[in-house]
Amino acid sequence: MADVKKELQNVEKKIEHGIVEGVEKAKEVFTNLARHIPLANLMHNRKKDTYTIEIDLPGVEKEDINVSIEDDYLIVTAIKKMKNELKEEDYYLLESKYGKYYRAFYLGDDIDRDSIDAKYEDGRLIITFDKVESKKRRDIAVK
């Protein structure tokens, strides 16, 4: 009799564990889906032949920003965390978007991938590229 009871408890525990795990998985999937697109500004300086991408990531710590180049894409991901263990309920008005940020930018042939430079200041990620040397603007002397 005691064995049956034990067995039942075991099954119960397993089911419970399964549910908890399932919920965790579902949460993870949803947080991966719920990603935000940061605002970006794209500019080109003709004189210096540099390209600049500004990406607004206010309230994000530098360590939580990831920049990579995959194939012909520049990929920026970031996680914006609520500070000081504050929760959503602690706010009266909460317009900021927390969680994952993701954006990919297509890099044209004229962009020199190796020249990438990234810095973060005033809540903004600033990425600059040079133009590929052979495609840079040059003045030709007329003989």
Binding site: R103, G108, D122
Partner: protein, 143 residues
């Protein structure tokens, strides 16, 4: 130049709706010469009220905080950086120009002790509450 991968149309719709609500909510206060309304979070702690304002790409020197009677106003301007003045902007999503947002202050605050700090493009304003002087219960003797 930018082709978005992992595009979530609903996120964008949501953002539009929120921006729209914000504009509507602020409609009575918005002045005609304001270019954008910053994103704001507000909360209350035991000792103070906090206002967080997202201002990526705005220099500290270009932000003003004024208190007029019971209204606190944050205003300023997002300027194009000197090194990008001559650039061609071929995409601008974060609005440049003037911004403003006002808040009515609760009664129990000490406007002389308001502090502001700026980190990662987020301005945090701390508005301390008036320290209540605990009055010991006084017994009146009947003569």
């Amino acid at each position: 130049m930018n082709i978005i991968r992992g595009y979530n149309p609903f996120a964008e719709l949501e953002a539009i709706r929120e921006q729209f609500n914000r504009v509507l909510n602020q409609a009575s206060e918005v002045k005609r010469d304001v270019d954008f309304i910053p994103v704001v979070n507000t909360r209350e702690a035991d000792d103070a009220y906090y206002i967080e304002v997202e201002l990526p790409g705005v220099k500290k020197e270009d932000i003003n905080i004024d208190v007029n009677e019971d209204t606190l106003t944050i205003s300023g301007e997002r300027k194009v950086k000197e090194e990008h003045k001559e650039d061609n902007f071929y995409k601008v999503e974060s609005v440049y120009g003037k911004f403003e947002r006002s808040f009515s202050l609760p009664e129990d605050v000490d406007t002389n002790k308001i502090e502001a700090t700026s980190k990662n493009g987020v301005l945090e304003i701390k508005i301390p509450k008036v320290q209540k002087v605990e009055k010991a219960p006084k017994k009146i003797e009947i003569k």
